[in-house]
Symmetry: C2
């Protein structure tokens, strides 16, 4: 695979280039402690957050307490597995008991939930150490990551550029090496988009594979809890812990049998940064190519937008009528438009979703994994809603979501992995499979990335 | 049961008071023929339709052809069962190959489908003889039955009054004794309302128990195909043929074990004709009483209205924009309002439907069958949208639907049977059960009606 090895992220933190298995070995071999890892994450957050704004809340006391307990447990042989003692950041849309949860919104200023989200409970049970809460786009309703009550999260590759969103802070915290792992949510691409724009791995599992209880909803029928890490293997490890999936024995044994993978040719009529598409295609290497039937991607996007709009407006209807002034102006405008989408369009979108499941499913009859760009452009400057990378005007928001949101409509697992850079900014390769084929997905990623 | 035996329907046709088992016996005993039954139905239609407007299309040639074939089959011992040779009318929303299907609308003037609806295929397979197509409220979107491209169907008890709808013509054809059986559809009460207002039995089975393929949709998630007949036993016979349900052996044997039945106390805050409620309560006889939790019926009605509006607007969106002038003015106004129901309300209504299923389901934990009025008023004069039966103004449309539509939201089987008269007009007792308990429902009806 033709990654551009000359490009490395400018911001480097203590976990840059470190994988969870390496950290786990160091912990068990006595080369470090859970407390030392937590301290390094806290120090890095303190040093880098003023520029990057990855964190809304850093919980130093809670992290050190959890790290000491994790050390005690390891010392007495109570090993909770691969996440034991690993510092983790949690998107500020996911409830952590006792820590503020703002959802990136002034509506929730001062709100402190009393209970952990189910995914946080599972993180703790796996021994992970929660370092803090990461910046989210306001109510997670935006792929840019630059609209939040506490300001935009900034891209470590260029802090004048957007991180992508909505799980922007989680992607930034990992990309800057502040933590090796973060939780995010992904309704239309909110894990994968910032992961791609920040040059890390991000995995959106199958729908409801990781429970969304205790996660503030954006559009419940598309909301997925996902994971972000420097390496896709770390995503797989975290996914297994959070989804309660045991590695299958045969999976390990048949590591020499990668899934049948094909490049999914994206519709040439869309206006994107073709340099990004070409770079990702080249990085993916030689493979079969398949085409989407005419209009199918567009139908998936319209279906996504209609259902997401109606569900989001349902979540926020009372806030919209009672306290509209607490929304940021961009979100207020979007929500008001969403609230006016007529119900009959929602009825049709629900029917379209059924049809799309069949039509996209047919794509997977001859291939196990489809490959495509995660995002067909590089990180735009903050606050920009249009860019002209090659003299053609691209609308930022729909372009960011164009290749990720169809997989939320279908609830299919989708992974993004770094695939080099364009203009010194990272681009991502997206791999998609049907639910149940996750082992093939990660195997395909590993095979591609090592060039074997 | 305290039926008022003194009141009988003024219009009497050849099938008034005749049950399907009686007719079946006469056919097999050689006392009549399928052709003779068809001729009597055709003659009655010719004589009574100018006043009652039950039929949009009478298919004399087709009926006689089918009847002769049915006679031939019986003569050679090919007996198709209880519906063999029975004249049946079919609502003009249900496709019969080669016969016009107007849906009660000018949009479908001249439309002739090429294939039978699945329920019609099953009717023919059971040997029934299709006499014609019956008047439907325009696109089945209305419980009054007095808005149709071919004029209102008229109540045989008083042709100046509405039949109820939307399966008005089917109810009128049966109530007037023109046919012993008719097919209707019921989205919010469209079988049960006209059956009750016309003094006959009507059964809406569980959702999709009779397939709706080939039936023009009103609101697909609530649309049910149902049957209308003079006696509830005939409804059961027809239902079994159309749904492919075999009588269970134990059901016949345990006829001495009626289901646990309770009167469902309706909310006293609603403005209805209380004389009707009292008459039906008295007709039902002594039984347990249960109350709906506060607000539940209202929530079911709102849920019904929102989902029905959005689905109906989805069905008609193109007609609404391309040829609004072909709709009747009342329906045009209703559809335009329906098209503006916002999608976020549809999202909430879908969630409410889930909740309601649980809450209504709990009502059936201690009883198998619930009894309540079918319609809390008698047939209003044609075209009236408000009535004042006791000095209080009642809005006709919501009152007609109030007690029937919740069971469409839940998809529960619901049967209406005659329960006497008020002011010389029939009222109906409605019996409801959970899917699977249909034998108990019909047993409860039989027990009640015979007073045993």
């Amino acid at each position: 695979m033709s990654l551009s090895p000359g490009h490395t992220i400018p911001s480097r933190g203590p976990f840059t280039g470190r994988t969870i298995p390496e950290l786990a070995r160091d912990l068990r071999d006595g080369r470090t402690t859970c407390t030392a890892l937590a301290e390094r994450a806290l120090d890095a957050a303190a040093a880098m957050n003023p520029v990057l704004n990855a964190f809304v809340t850093v919980d130093a006391a809670g992290a050190l307490r959890a790290a000491r307990q994790a050390d005690d447990e390891l010392a007495r042989g109570a090993d909770r597995g691969p996440l034991h003692g690993i510092p983790v950041a949690v998107k500020d849309l996911i409830m952590v008991a006792g820590l503020p949860a703002t959802m990136g919104s002034r509506h929730f200023a001062g709100y402190v939930p009393g209970e952990d989200a189910e995914c946080v409970t599972r993180l703790r049970r796996a021994g992970a150490v929660i370092v803090g809460k990461t910046t989210t786009h306001e109510f997670a309703y935006g792929p840019t990551g630059d609209r939040s009550a506490s300001g935009p999260s900034r891209n470590p590759w260029d802090p004048a550029r957007m991180s992508g969103g909505s799980s922007g802070g989680s992607a930034v915290a990992v990309a800057a090496g502040i933590v090796p792992l973060a939780l995010g949510t992904d309704t239309g691409g909110s894990v994968r988009i910032p992961a791609a724009l920040c040059g890390i791995a991000g995995f959106k599992p199958a729908y409801d594979a990781i429970p969304a209880d205790g996660v503030f909803p954006l559009a419940r029928s598309f909301d997925h809890v996902g994971v972000l890490a420097g390496h896709e293997t770390d995503c797989l490890i975290a996914y297994r812990c959070l989804a309660g999936v045991e590695p299958a024995g045969d999976e390990e044994e048949s590591a020499d049998a990668p899934g049948r993978i094909a490049w999914l040719d994206t519709d040439g009529t869309d206006v994107w940064d073709e340099r990004v598409v070409r770079a990702v295609r080249a990085a993916a290497g030689p493979m079969d190519e398949v085409r989407l039937p005419e209009g199918l991607a567009q139908e998936a996007r319209v279906t996504y937008t209609v259902i997401q709009s109606c569900e989001a407006a349902s979540v926020h209807a009372e806030r919209l009528s009672d306290a509209p002034e607490l929304f940021g102006s961009e979100l207020l405008e979007r929500l008001r438009a969403a609230a006016e989408v007529p119900g009959w369009r929602h009825v049709r979108a629900l029917a379209a979703r059924e049809r799309l499941a069949g039509e996209f499913g047919a794509l997977f009859e001859r291939h196990d994994v489809l490959a495509l760009p995660t995002v067909p452009l590089t990180a735009p400057p903050l606050d920009r809603r249009e860019v002209e990378p090659a003299g053609r005007t691209i609308e930022v928001r729909p372009a960011l979501l164009a290749l990720t949101c169809p997989w939320n409509v279908l609830g299919f697992p989708a992974l993004t992995v770094p695939a080099g850079t364009v203009d010194g900014l990272p681009v991502g390769l997206q791999l998609v499979c049907r639910p149940g084929d996750e082992p093939l997905l990660f195997r395909a990623a590993a095979t591609r990335l090592t060039g074997t």
